[in-house]
Symmetry: C2
Subunit: 314 residues, 2 copies
Amino acid sequence: MRLAIVGSGAVGTSVLELAGGYGHDVVGVADSSSGAVDAAGLDPEAVRSRKHEQDTVGDGTPEDVLEADYDVLVEATPTTLGDAEPGFSHVECALERDRHVVLANKGPVAERYDDVRALEADSAGSVLFEAAVGGAIPVLSTIDDLNGQVTAARGVLNGTANFVLSRMAAEGLGYEHVLAEAQDLGVAEADPTFDVEGVDAALKCVILANVLYEDTYTLEDAEVEGIDDLPGSALELAAEDGRTIRLIGEVADGDVRVGPRLVPENGTLAVSGTLNIVQLETQHAGRLNISGRGAGGPETASAILADVGRLPSE
Amino acid sequence: MRLAIVGSGAVGTSVLELAGGYGHDVVGVADSSSGAVDAAGLDPEAVRSRKHEQDTVGDGTPEDVLEADYDVLVEATPTTLGDAEPGFSHVECALERDRHVVLANKGPVAERYDDVRALEADSAGSVLFEAAVGGAIPVLSTIDDLNGQVTAARGVLNGTANFVLSRMAAEGLGYEHVLAEAQDLGVAEADPTFDVEGVDAALKCVILANVLYEDTYTLEDAEVEGIDDLPGSALELAAEDGRTIRLIGEVADGDVRVGPRLVPENGTLAVSGTLNIVQLETQHAGRLNISGRGAGGPETASAILADVGRLPSE
């Protein structure tokens, strides 16, 4: 397939680097202000050094990339809420041109799922977004394979919050201390609001709800509580009872909820560090647990490239 | 799709019952001595009561089912070693007629993988066998989606052996006692040899090796040790060190090995009861863990029907 990548952060850059190993050519790359297009396939190293030296990916514009002759648009710009722009317009542009879209950006499928599905219905292109939920974990493809059998989903869907809670529990340290440590390590962003307030996990749960219920949920439909007010004493009390606390997202009975929950200390949901886990409840196959790395450039790129492989090739 | 099912044990019967919910018709069912064919679709309830009352599924022969007009042959007869018959001949018959094959039977893809792939190469039909490894756990489809990125696999692939070890460790009971209990509960078969000697887990690992290395392994290439000689004192010693023992199958560096191994007591691999788990090591996406029910009629049927959904529909 010929890929055009919009967004050149860690995820977009990893897709550029790994696509060749999956047999695909990258014919366009855009960041927020520039673009590079080459119908014969871009050289990842050349794009990277150009970005490093001149802070642009090429001499063109982002619009040149959107208008290029690709099979699949990879949308890897940062997630935005509300109108989900500019991600949504990128999706729209590709589908109107009958091209496929693979998203890492959660915005369009969390905040404007009905609009995306309506555009897809009128297009010869398909939309896939495995990378938007749980990074490397194959959640959506498993749900798809189970063909309507999955009745509920829950899990740990934000690695930053999980790192903070794991460290607080293991070391008896306070929230502010561990958060600062996570920022030093690059596990938490300078502005960790989305992660610690539960918004990032909620967006992933909203996407799961959209897929499970074939309905249109948005962030407004989710009940969201973060870990930013959680006292260390709560973790100590939990530990006395053989339990710990995790930021659990849950999609069940039509509801979407995210918040700190008590879980067994050595139980399946108590993954440590930045790991993510998803539990799927199925009608005939019992409970499936899938855990792995929920974020990271190459990990998320792997999910994107698996989606590309699932697209109809004609 | 129109399915023909060969084998009417727990798995074959569950496929018959669940296929309709996935939008498929079952046009033929065979047990070892009889067959039922109906181009308009068989009634699951009628087949079941016939089997119950007369110990035959219909008035026809198994050959009638193999020769019926189906799209997919579901092979769910018991696993056999060596020439993998009669399963292998069923696969051969379907592929020579350019039909797809979905296997729960491990024999043909563990003992005669090269023959199966050679037949598939000359056929318009495809062969899938997710149900043969880890029951409901989507192992092979995840490996396939990762497109050559998986470098090694290990895990708990036999629920009976895991049940026995879990109980021995938790209750401090001896092997013979727990095995008898497992037989009473229906978790272990009357002849548990394949499970406790590690053969069943080894066959699954051989299949994983065939897929990962695109090579032809058989049971003879596997180094296999069971749990039937394991003294309870070994579990006690492990527990003193915060560890326990599981029957671990591993495919790594070109080798296939199954045997009792020390694992951390509350670690990811120490699943309890009849659960299975598979860990996949990947090049770019880190380690993925997938756990769930590794056996059972509806669970295995779910994996079969997921495979049917993955087949090219034309």
